[in-house]
Subunit: 211 residues, 2 copies
């Protein structure tokens, strides 16, 4: 676990990330200073020293713009130069706790930005069980989820049901709501009006890795 940053240090670290993503190269001490109205390069330098000490970046001595950043752990990152988006993988999901709460995050997944038409708020979940194999979703796959509170008929969704999350096909017919597995071994689940049921989001992607 990395050490806690002060507000000021956090601001500066974010600025450096942003600057590098925008320009392709890191800022100088004076460019940082200008942004934060720190007149002396020495003041900036000590912020960098602190950030380096706490493990967020490395500074190459005597090299101009010699800042190399350590990767973020939890944040969504969108890189327009290389066209990727980094989304969090949610480890355990529990009712009541916001799904993207930092404690839940189990890693990150980098995917192509061209997939992410749906802004940047997606997250990923690792699938347990085999109830969706006929939809090509296997145990261990990562499903990419676009958060939504409702769903349309036939959509593949992630639902919260009695403190558990499941992936199912959403069916609404004659005002009855059912969750359909895609595996003959399982039965549809009628959730019409059940309080312990809610829609978490819609499955927009599947990523599987073998071995």
């Amino acid at each position: 676990m990395k050490k806690q940053l002060t507000d000021r240090q956090d601001d500066i670290l974010r600025f450096i990330h942003h600057f590098r993503n925008e320009n392709g190269y890191p800022p100088t001490l004076r460019e940082i200073g200008k942004k934060f109205e720190i007149a002396s390069t020495f003041g900036v330098k000590r912020h960098l020293d602190a950030l380096e000490k706490k493990g967020y970046l490395n500074v190459e001595s005597n090299a101009s713009r010699g800042i190399s950043l350590q990767p973020f752990e939890n944040d969504a990152i969108i890189d327009t130069t290389n066209n990727f988006t980094k989304i969090p993988i949610i480890g355990h999901v529990a009712a009541g706790i916001p799904i993207t709460a930092i404690e839940n995050i189990d890693g990150s997944l980098v995917i192509d930005s061209s997939f992410m038409k749906h802004s940047e708020s997606c997250f990923a979940l690792r699938v347990k069980g085999d109830s969706m194999i006929n939809a090509g979703i296997f145990e261990g796959d990562l499903v990419v989820v676009l958060p939504k509170k409702d769903a349309a008929n036939g959509e593949t969704i992630v639902a919260m049901l009695e403190d558990e999350v499941t992936v199912k096909t959403f069916e609404i017919k004659n005002k009855k709501v059912r969750l359909l597995p895609a595996n003959e071994k399982y039965q549809p689940i009628d959730v019409t009006g059940r309080k312990e049921f809610s829609v978490v989001g819609k499955v927009v992607g599947v990523v599987r890795w073998l071995n």
Copy 2:
């Protein structure tokens, strides 16, 4: 289409990409010169001017290390800072033409480097047909392929068969080689000793995107 580079310019462009990925910041003129044994910074500068003119990078005047790179179109990129790998998506595959020939490339796919234990030589193919739906590989999915010339029993592979590429399960039993579809609608294909058959590689990943 970007303009053609000379060998020298291409070498230098690749070095800058590599340097930036390794260090997090671009090289100086003298660092480039040292690598290529160009004694004068002016010699290096004119290479950068040429690369800028041809649209491969931008140079910020009077800014040290002020090189910002245009994204590659076709090459594999590995970024250690943000932990991603960019692999080419192969459009059409034809016998005789090297599979990663530039003409074949149809885009690129960014994926998480943690998936890429298999060095960096992978590429992706878009799946046509439904012969592997029981293996969770659907039409339109992208399969990530690790190039190999042989396969083990039971592996999901990409094979070249009579000028067509297909995804199948590889079976070798009693010295007979068959390609097994994962769909009841199709029959196994016996390819024992057939000349028009070759293994392209092993499927190591599947990426599906909905909508």
